[in-house]
């Protein structure tokens, strides 16, 4: 430290100022905070090097424990010991961190104490764990955070009747369904922008509805009926919707929310977050809240360590299978369930508590799923010791087992419900006799029929690997991609046969296709056989009614395929898993490319779902029968639009050409003006016609030799 003053200098300065140094206590001098008069302290660079030290600002780590027994002085130590014992299990109490005030008059405690922990986290935990702790019958702890005390004190003593706000009718949140052109909406996320657009297939382009930068911090999600768009933020989730634009309708506070999930009737929103534990050896702390979508109220919350939620299933975030809570089918949102160790906990939404106040005990259960329409659970229990593996269907809330099937030498099992809940297919991977490899078969449950008959179904070559399986939505057919070679086969089967013999009938097999995924149209009948990833985005549009290929196409490197909710259009997208080609294509159902949009850093493409139609099946059939009558109107409209389009196109081209002419003329004029100057630059070379080239063929005749000869002329 070069700047340190010498003692001599100090003395002379003191002399000059008339101060007797002997009377000054140097240690008592304290400099104003943040001021060092240019004298660098030896400690300072130590502090500057590291992070700023954590300061005890506020009282976040202090709790107040109320409803303690009131004791005289003699019992004081004993009580303190008891309290210490309770709270030191939860966190580290600071030295002198427990203070129990004493009434100076009665010399007794006042029935409450303050406890200071090392960290606010511990204090929070202590409050959570001991609020309501029963010390004995008459002493039930009331624990509060010190910081919150002020707010409690501010509660007025007198009750004031709440003000009623007059009822205002809300917007029509389903306004988008009334679009005159019956278009569908979709949301895309690219870069920092999130955009909602109409799919205007007639105009061959999307029409913007709403755009916002940084609308969400990780992803967006439509509610299952399309009413809301959920966004995710650090503070919680939010839903957006409205008649003409997107307004924020509700916020759901949930710090660091990671995942959200709507119930199928979109009444409830489940949010999930996972927090780093203070002790690194512990599992992450998981918080799950279930909100009422419309009121924003928390209906139930679940907290625990990640391990509690990580049983059964795979994937998800940090080992937790998402969604943790699976909702029973149907719009009523009546039941939801989650799987635990040897149990399945089924809750009902009327009270948000367990059905019959207890979980379903199923030894060793690993997977379950709900029927998409009915409160029926399908469970899978793998082999354990002498017990065979088992798939069973269970009715809720009665918990009756509807049907059960035992399976042997099973390695894995996957359940696929048909979208109407009519059929359940269970894909069973079984070990071969040597136990060295597996082969696959299916158990098909006909849920709607009496006694739920089960049919065992195997492929013709039962050693074929199953690459994909998919039910026809609302239908009775299913498709399987199978085979071991790089070009697998695709087979279609029907659950109905001509003479109603209740036997699966094979419709056809397509040999050697470049496909690894199946995408049925939501209305059935059409399916896209897609070769994603390794197959570079091969698409085959297939009509299953006619058993014919309608079109084959390619969306190079496509990663995602999604049908619009009406089954009229398909979107294929390349999301930012690749660097190149990001963007999406919109196709008609029969494989005609309508338009393509390129966007860098393309993350998400989601069609806005539609609620189910109100038309009865009979009515729908009637419309299908008289389709000609209805379609006339739309065909005329289509024609008008295409006329208009070509007209507009011509107009646009004409404009562009004109504009270009203008530029050209201007350039020609300037070029002409500058002609002379250019000539001087070129030392007077006149040839300026850079543009005009003429290849001339020049014939040059050269006389090489002239000789004269006199020829005799004979008569």
């Amino acid at each position: 430290m070069a700047d340190v003053m010498l003692m001599k200098e100090i003395e002379t300065t003191a002399d000059r100022l008339g101060i007797d140094l002997a009377t000054v206590d140097l240690d008592s001098i304290s400099l104003p905070p943040g001021q060092d008069f240019g004298i660098v302290s030896d400690d300072e660079d130590v502090l500057q090097g590291g992070d700023n030290p954590e300061l005890d600002i506020g009282f976040g780590n202090i709790i107040i424990v109320d409803n303690l027994p009131v004791v005289p002085r003699e019992k004081f130590d004993k009580l303190e010991g008891v309290i210490r014992k309770i709270y030191s299990q939860i966190g580290v109490i600071k030295e002198d961190g427990l203070w129990m005030p004493i009434d100076p008059e009665t010399q007794k405690t006042l029935g409450y104490c303050f406890i200071e922990f090392n960290s606010p986290l511990e204090a929070e935990l202590a409050r959570e764990k001991t609020n309501g702790y029963k010390l004995d019958r008459s002493h039930i702890f009331a624990v509060n955070m010190f910081d919150e005390f002020d707010t409690f004190m501010k509660v007025p003593d007198k009750w004031a009747p709440p003000e009623f706000t007059p009822y205002t009718s809300g917007e029509n949140l389903q306004h988008w369904l009334t679009d005159e052109k019956a278009r569908d909406q979709f949301v895309i996320r690219a870069g920092s922008d999130t955009e909602v657009l109409w799919n205007d297939a007639r105009q061959l382009k999307p029409e913007p509805v709403y755009k916002r930068a940084f609308w969400t911090e990780s992803f967006v999600q439509w509610s299952p009926l399309g009413t809301y768009l959920a966004t995710v933020h650090r503070q919680g989730a939010a839903v957006w919707g409205g008649a003409s634009t997107f307004n924020r309708l509700m916020r759901y506070a949930h710090p660091q929310v990671k995942l959200v999930d709507f119930s199928p009737g979109e009444r409830y929103l489940v949010t999930y977050s996972s927090h780093e534990p203070s002790n690194p050896r512990d599992a992450n702390r998981v918080v799950i809240n279930i909100f009422d979508v419309r009121t924003g109220k928390v209906m139930r919350d679940f907290k625990g360590s990640a391990d509690d939620f990580a049983i059964g299933g795979t994937g998800g975030v940090a080992g937790v299978a998402w969604p943790v809570f699976r909702w029973a089918g149907g719009k009523e949102d009546k039941y939801f369930a989650r799987i635990g160790k040897n149990i399945i906990s089924v809750y009902e939404t009327e009270t948000f508590s367990l059905i019959d106040k207890k979980s379903l005990k199923v030894e060793n259960v690993v997977d379950f799923c709900w029927s998409p329409t009915d409160p029926i659970l399908a469970l899978f229990v793998p082999e354990l010791g002498d017990h065979p593996a088992r798939v069973s269907l269970m009715q809720i809330p009665s918990k009756d087992e509807l049907r059960q099937k035992n399976l042997f030498s099973v390695s894995d099992c996957k359940m696929y419900w048909q979208s109407n809940g009519d059929y359940l297919a269970v894909k069973v991977d079984r070990y071969t006799k040597t136990k060295k490899s597996t082969y696959t078969g299916f158990e098909l449950f006909r849920v709607r029929e009496r006694d739920i008959p089960i049919e065992v179904f195997e492929l013709e070559n039962k050693n074929d690997k199953i690459i994909a399986f998919a039910w026809e939505p609302k239908g009775h057919r299913f498709a399987v991609i199978h085979g071991d070679n790089p070009r697998p086969d695709i087979s279609f089967y029907s659950m109905r046969s001509a003479n109603n013999t209740d036997k699966v009938k094979k419709l056809t097999t397509l040999k050697g296709k470049q496909a690894n995924a199946l995408f049925w149209s939501p209305t059935g009948r059409f399916v896209i056989l897609a070769g994603l990833k390794g197959f570079n985005g091969q698409l085959e549009f297939y009509n299953v009614d006619e058993l014919e290929t309608m079109a084959t196409a390619e969306h190079f490197m496509a990663t995602d395929i999604e049908w619009d909710p009406t089954g009229r259009y398909v979107a294929t997208a390349v999301t930012s898993v690749h660097e190149m080609e990001n963007g999406f294509n919109i196709w008609s159902f029969n494989g005609k490319l309508l338009y393509r949009i390129l966007k860098d850093h393309f993350f998400q493409f989601l069609w806005r779902p539609r609620p189910p139609s109100f038309l009865s099946p009979e009515k729908e059939e009637e419309i299908a029968k008289n389709l000609k009558k209805y379609s006339k109107k739309y065909e005329a409209e289509d024609q008008d639009v295409s006329m208009l389009l070509s007209e507009q196109d011509r107009e646009k081209r004409r404009m562009l050409k004109e504009e270009w002419e203008k530029w050209l003329n201007e350039w020609k004029r300037l070029h002409e003006e500058e002609k002379l100057e250019r000539q001087t630059l070129r030392d007077g070379e006149v040839s300026d016609e850079e543009e005009e080239y003429e290849a001339k063929e020049v014939e040059v005749e050269e006389i090489l030799d002239v000789s004269e000869e006199v020829l005799s002329f004979e008569e």
């Binding site: 570079n536 190149m580 270009w660 070129r682 080239y693």
Partner: protein, 326 residues
């Protein structure tokens, strides 16, 4: 239109240039020898030996007598086109990136890369008619833009210099004083490095290509943005047809990523766009590396492309090309 494959370079091509008559094609590559070819049949006429580094750019005088080349060996050399003899060498303290001869061939603009402590710069040199009078002095030196200046060309009547490079901005400078006259708008302009710049035959407008996957057409006098052509790939090279209202864009992803993707993913195609409608009209495939250089024959009836693969492909258009109707 069967292309003529011209294999003469060992390393990726960097630049292509036709002479005014359109009978000679000059090619530069990362190997050290610029090469001249017959533009008609692709026969190799000769090479210019003397550079000791990648050659980035070249220009040829109006009378096809002189060739000027800029190289990473920190020199710009003047050559006798006919004999291949080196006439003069300008030496710099950093690699030369772009060269362009002015109208009248008495001036040349040269850009140098940032190197060690020296920033990138634009130099203007006098070119003497008689090579024995040639000196290395700069008439003007302009500094200012950040990063490499990938192209610098003369504006109309040699009054301005147009430059573009890594900072994605197109600039117009006064060629007398070195004052900055105009800058392209950040909003409407390119978003990433500008890799290519090509003037129209009459010098009234020019086309720039950028790694932001687009090419833009500008007025050379006012720097007005006239057109934008959007493609799926970073653009490395651009050219304008002198005959029809067509522009050609060439590119592909970074050379460093080429080996990691399918050849189709690379899309090493020369893409043709309608200059006025800004619509893609076609593509010419063939290279198996990104296209680094494109040039139109001044008669507009053929063009050549040079790729990272080391080939020059010379394409003579079929007669149908001249009758494309949109």
């Amino acid at each position: 239109m069967r292309p003529i494959l011209m294999k003469g370079h060992e390393r990726p091509l960097t630049f292509l240039k036709y002479n005014r008559d359109g009978d000679l094609l000059f090619s530069c590559a990362k190997d050290h020898t610029p090469t001249v070819w017959f533009a008609d049949n692709g026969e190799r006429l000769g090479t210019y030996r003397g550079h000791n580094g990648a050659v980035w750019c070249c220009d040829v005088s109006r009378d096809s007598m002189r060739l000027i080349t800029g190289s990473a060996d920190q020199s710009v050399k003047l050559w006798n086109v006919q004999t291949g003899e080196q006439l003069y060498s300008f030496n710099f303290g950093s690699p030369a990136r772009a060269v362009d001869l002015a109208v009248g061939d008495k001036l040349a603009v040269i850009t140098t890369d940032p190197f060690m402590d020296s920033p990138s710069a634009i130099h203007v040199k006098q070119i003497s008619r008689d090579p024995s009078d040639q000196t290395g002095e700069s008439v003007l030196t302009i500094k200012g833009p950040q990063g490499r200046i990938n192209r610098a060309v003369w504006g109309p009547l040699n009054k301005t210099i147009i430059s573009a490079g890594e900072d994605a901005v197109v600039r117009i400078w006064d060629s007398e004083t070195g004052k900055l006259l105009k800058e392209s708008d950040k909003e409407s302009g390119h978003k990433k490095t500008i890799t290519a710049l090509s003037k129209s035959t009459d010098g009234s407008h020019f086309l720039t290509g950028s790694l932001d996957k687009s090419a833009k057409l500008w007025d050379a006098r006012t720097l007005t943005l006239i057109k934008t052509y959007v493609t799926e790939r970073p653009v490395n090279a651009v050219a304008m047809s002198p005959l029809l209202d067509h522009v050609v864009l060439g590119g592909g992803q970074d050379a460093s990523n080429v080996t990691t993707t399918d050849h189709r993913a690379g899309k090493f195609e020369a893409k043709f766009f309608d200059k006025i409608l800004q619509e893609e009209i076609g593509g010419v495939k063939g290279h198996f590396g990104p296209i680094n250089a494109l040039a139109f024959n001044p008669d507009g009836k053929s063009f050549s492309s040079g790729g990272e693969d080391g080939y020059v492909r010379l394409h003579h258009f079929d007669s149908d090309y001249f009758n494309i109707k949109i």
